[in-house]
Structures are given as C-alpha cells and as structure tokens.
C-alpha cells in the first residue's frame, strides 16, 4: 500500500496552472523579442517547427516534470507493508523422521511411505507459522538437519533434500529422540514437542528409545510417536546413495507398537498408528490442534520511503532541461 507522509504538500499543485500561464502564455511575459509587424488583417508570424523550437518546448516539459516530482517527493511517498508480529511464543516442534530403507515401501500411494510422509509434513509445517520447527533424520545414525527455527523455508528445503539410507541402513529410534531432545534443551517454549515418524523396530544406536523418551519427559518434552505402514507385504525399491546400488524386493516388517506406545507414555505424549496416507494427514491435524497455543499478534507496519528515487528523477529532469535547452535549443540559461 502506498501512502503520503505529508499530503499537505500536494496543495502546491494549485500553483502549477498560474505558473505555466505566467511562463508560457501570458502576453506580457518577458524574455522574448517581439516583432511588432504582421500581415495586414492576417495572423502574426510563427516560427517553423525546427529542431530548436521543438527542443525548447521539450525542455519546458522536462522542467515542469521536475517541478511536479519535487512536490511529490516533498509529500513523502512511502510504500507500507503490514507484517504480523507474534507476541506470544508458539510450540517448539522437532520432527524426527525415519530414513531407513523400509520407508521406501510402496504401500502408501502415490509413491511410498517416505514421500507421503514428506508431503504431509510439508503441509503441517506451512500451517505452523508461530512454531519453531526443527528436523532430525535417522536410520543407522541420527543427524540434526535443522535446529528449531521460525525460518520454515530452511526446514522445508532440508526436508526436500532428505534421501533414504543417507545415514546408513538401520533404525536408531533412540538416537533420533536423544538428539532431538538435546536440541530442545535451550528452548524457552512452554510447549516442547517431538514428532517421531518411523516404520521400523529400533535396531541401531547406543541409546534405547525408552531411555531417550524418559530423558525427554524429564525435560518437559512430549513425544508424539507415529508408526507408519499398512502392516501388509509391500514392494520396495530404494537406491543406496553411498554406492548407487538399487535394491528391490518386498517388506513385511512393521513398527514396534509396544515401544512406540511406551515412548509416548514415558514423555506424556500420544501414540498414533498411520495405516494410510489419509490417516497420517489426520494424525498431523490432531497434533496441530493439540499443540495450538494462544496467539497474541500485533500488526506492525514497515515503511519504505521512495522520495529519494523521485528526487534523483527530478535531478535528472532538471539537468536534462538545461542540456536540451542549451545544446539543442541554443537558449540562454
């Protein structure tokens, strides 16, 4: 939206018609030599429309355009942008995503478990404007991808760049939870949450899921544990990024419901079972609703003044006036 900081200056436009009349149309104006002769009963002499005459008229246009620019600049043209400032703190949410090979199982349409989860998580992040969101990936090892941040574009970029099996082959649920808890340690948020998404059984890492969940619970971090998979045999196709080898086959193994339940209980969270893409979407909606915090918002107006650009234009027009008048019009100053 555009506004004027000092709109009163626009009243100066009232001077424009009399000044143009005075300078260009008033019969008594000075600065010219009149020829007091004309054809009897005919019109007065008019000069031909030479380049010089055209230049002088054009220079007058430049001059008055500069004059107009000065009034506009003095009025303070400013572009304003409204932005929402959240005065209340949202939740801190760490997304802990399984990147093991089994996540490539094609029992979730249109592609596989991992791609479905990625799409659902993307939509979830886009709705959580006031929540700090972080991302941890795990398979044989766990790695922090993004610490909790309001810079959600960064999280989304990192989510898009996640590749199955890039952290080896295995399922280190405990390590993933421990790492996420560590990065929530400094959080001042009232609501600290880990959303764990896995389709396997913990079979790697030095920390058990239960131990990690207990530590999380002691730190006030709730864990929403989501088991993903239809429980049916599913085709799997995954390329190992380490050696480029393509693996094809079927997978039957399912997540460990008991452990996921226990993890949630120990931390005061909830366990969910996602057997289809629709269920997974519904689960994330439920988590979103559960973690909704009171939002106190202030609208802040940012101002971007543009008078300087208009002044530079006015300057160019004035110099243009002088140059055209002098060089092409052959006029005195």
């Amino acid at each position: 939206m555009w506004i004027l900081e000092r709109p009163g200056f626009l009243l100066l436009f009232l001077l424009l018609p009399p000044l143009i009349y005075l300078r260009h149309f008033w019969p008594g104006r000075g600065g010219r030599i009149e020829f007091p002769v004309s054809l009897w009963g005919g019109e007065r002499f008019h000069g031909p429309a030479t380049l010089r005459i055209i230049s002088i008229r054009f220079s007058a246009v430049l001059f008055w355009a500069a004059w107009v620019c000065l009034i506009v600049a003095a009025a303070g043209p400013t572009r304003t942008e409204r932005e929402r400032v959240y005065l209340s703190r949202g939740a801190d949410i760490m997304l802990v995503i399984d990147q093991s090979a089994s996540m490539a199982a094609q029992d979730f349409q249109p592609t596989n478990r991992f791609e479905t989860a990625r799409a659902v998580i993307r939509r979830f992040i886009e709705q959580r404007l006031n929540d700090h969101i972080g991302l941890v990936g795990f398979s044989a090892e766990a790695a922090l991808r993004v610490p909790p941040t309001l810079h959600h574009n960064h999280v989304l970029d990192s989510l898009d760049s996640m590749v199955l099996m890039e952290l080896g082959d295995g399922t280190a649920i405990g390590m993933g939870l421990a790492l996420a808890t560590l990065h929530l340690q400094a959080s001042q948020a009232d609501n600290k949450v880990i959303v764990l998404l896995t389709d396997g059984v913990n079979n790697a890492g030095e920390i058990s899921p239960e131990a990690a969940a207990e530590v999380a619970g002691r730190q006030g971090v709730r864990i929403y544990a989501i088991g993903i998979g239809s429980g049916q045999e599913a085709a799997i196709e995954v390329r190992n990024p380490a050696d480029g080898q393509l693996y094809r086959g079927t997978v039957r193994e399912s997540y460990d419901e008991t452990t996921l339940n226990r993890i949630s209980e120990l931390s005061g969270g909830t366990y969910f079972s996602a057997g289809s893409a629709g269920t997974l979407e519904a689960i994330f909606n439920a988590i979103g609703t559960a973690e909704d915090t009171e939002r106190r918002v202030r609208v802040q107006v940012r101002r971007y003044p543009y008078h300087r650009q208009i002044l530079l234009l006015a300057l160019a027009l004035l110099v243009g006036d002088l140059v055209v008048r002098r060089l092409l019009g052959g006029y005195a100053p």
């Binding site: 000065l70 972080g134 909790p148 008078h307 530079l312 002098r326 100053p333």
Partner: protein
C-alpha cells in the same frame, strides 16, 4: 548535520562546471541580441541580461544544489522513538575465505573470530543466533535459533571447506545474513560481521539501500592487521601466486567502516584485547535490560526542507524569467 547518502554530495562539484557553461552561453546569447538590436540600447540590454540571466542561473543552480542535498538525505537534531522490541537476534556473518587463514592474529583470523563469537554468545544465553558463512558464495549454516548446541556445533566445524566456491563475496554474505532474520520478529536484530574486508566480487554498495531500510545494525569486526600476512597451506608452506611469490593478504578497513556507518552499527578490531567486552557492551546498550520499554534517539530526516527550498527557487526562477524587466525602456 549528517547525511544518509553522503556520496551524492560529490555531484555538487558539477555545479561550477555548469556555471561556466552557462556563463559562455549568456555571453554568446547577449552578442546575438546586440547584433539584432544594434548599439543604441547596448547598456540597457546588457544590464537586463545580467539581471535576468544571472538571477535565473543562480536560482536554477541553487535549486539543483538543494535537490542534490535533499537526495543525500540530511539529518540533524534527534527525535525520541519508542522501541518496544525485547530480546536479541544475532546473525554471525563469518568470512571463511582463504585470507581468513592468515595468522597475523593468534591463532588465525578465523579461529580468533570463532572464539570471539562464542564468547559473545556466552554473555547472551537467551539470544537467538544464526550463522551465515561466505566465501565466493554464502550459505546459512544455522538458521535463527535458540538452540545453543547447534550454534556450538557450527562454530566447531567452521572452515573454508564448507563452501567450495572460491573468492570473497561480502555482498552475498550480507544479503544472506539479512534474509536470515525471520519476518515479524519482536526482538532486536544485529549482524556481527567477522571479515578482513576483502571484496573480490560485487560491491556491497549495491546493498546499502536495503541495509539502511532494514534497520539492522552491522557490528563489523575487522579480523586482520594492516601489516597483513601470508596464507598457510594445510600441506605446509604458504600460498604463492603464479610467479612463485608468497601471497600476502591485508585488510580493507574502509569497506567494514562503511558498512558499520550505513547501518548505524559500529566498527571493531579483533586484535583489540577488549573487543569481546566492547561488542557485549554495544549489544547491551542496544537492547537495554529487556524489561522496560526502550526509547532510542534517532536522527530526524530533514530532506523535505531542501525539497521545499528547491521548489521555491525554481518557482522564483519562473517568475523572474517571466517578469518583463525592461519593458519601460522599450525592451523585454
């Protein structure tokens, strides 16, 4: 009086040149008129020319000068501005180019920058921090976060090898650092830049407008010494140019000082033993105690007064030009 864009004032030097051009133009014009009018009114016509065109030229030159001064955004006096921001967001913008490996400060420019950054963060445990590094390109190593573990991790792994594009693009670094602040933040925002000031690619001048508008001060910490130093290689020896001479990297104070000036920040030198304390005090001064509403003094922009002056001068020029000064004597 201070100026937001002092470089524009150099344009005022063009006015005397314009004055000389106009002087010769008037002289030639006067000669032409005298050829038409003859010698019998020579003195009157000459006087008229001097009055009309001298006055008009002075008014025009005055107007142009006023527009230049207005565009340079003069400020004087101060106004009290309410500042309800609380808390602090710091983006550490760190140069990881080859020149930062120089060891003219102990143990090296980069290692010293790392330890100063860590020491500053320790003093503000509740601050949000982000880390942006730059070389030939820039990247956000840590987005703005409260997570001090992530900050520590990034600092431990800081090295030139994180970016493969060779060169030093302070421009890219600064642009990425400005983007690293989340929109709509209720906190104070500061960029702490660690660099030796080398600018091998695009000039940061092109960012000055954005920097000014962002209201984010840059605390620019110059990481080298003016004597400069060679660049040690990990394989032993030092970096050499094509002729086999050791490459000696110095510092460019001017770029860093300018960034600090434009953004209303401050300039520091890393080999000053009190640099950490000075940065901490500067940050504390800016954020207050975080409990009460702050009132800060801000320069008052006065550009419109000069625009008004230019407007009046141009209008006066139109009027002076249009008045038939010599009508009573039969000439106009």
């Amino acid at each position: 009086m201070t100026f937001g864009y002092p470089d524009l004032l150099w344009l005022l030097l063009a006015l005397p040149v314009g004055g000389i051009v106009v002087f010769f133009a008037v002289r030639r014009s006067l000669r032409n008129v005298l050829v038409i009018s003859g010698d019998f009114q020579r003195r009157d016509i000459t006087n008229l020319y001097v009055v009309r065109y001298f006055v008009a030229s002075v008014l025009f030159a005055g107007a142009v000068a006023s527009v230049i001064i207005a565009a340079a955004e003069p400020e004087w006096g101060e106004q009290t501005v309410e500042d309800d921001r609380q808390g602090l967001e710091i983006v550490f913008l760190i140069d990881v180019s080859n020149s930062m490996r120089a060891e003219d400060v102990e143990p090296s420019r980069l290692a010293r920058a790392r330890s100063v950054a860590r020491a500053v963060v320790t003093r503000f445990p509740e601050a949000y921090t982000g880390v942006v590094i730059f070389k030939g390109a820039a990247t956000t190593l840590v987005p703005m976060t409260e997570d001090s573990v992530a900050f520590d991790l990034a600092m431990s792994n800081l090295s030139g090898g994180l970016i493969t594009t060779a060169g030093t693009s302070l421009y890219d670094g600064l642009a990425t650092a400005l983007d690293a602040f989340p929109p709509g933040s209720p906190r104070h925002q500061v960029i702490i830049l660690f660099s030796d000031g080398e600018e091998l690619q695009r000039s940061v001048d092109t960012l000055s407008d954005r920097l000014r508008r962002s209201d984010i001060p840059v605390l620019a910490v110059q990481t080298g010494t003016s004597a400069g130093a060679t660049i040690p290689l990990s394989s032993g020896g030092v970096l050499r140019d094509g002729s086999g001479n050791p490459v000696v990297v110095g510092v460019d104070e001017a770029v860093l000082r300018k960034l600090a000036d434009i953004s209303k920040g401050r300039y520091f030198q890393i080999n000053d033993p009190t640099v950490t304390q000075s940065i901490v005090e500067e940050l504390q001064r800016r954020i207050g105690d975080g409990k009460d509403l702050l009132f800060r003094r801000a320069g008052e922009d006065r550009y419109h007064l000069f625009v008004l002056l230019a407007f009046v001068l141009l209008t006066a020029k139109v009027v002076s030009y249009s008045i038939p000064w010599g009508r009573k004597k039969g000439i106009e």
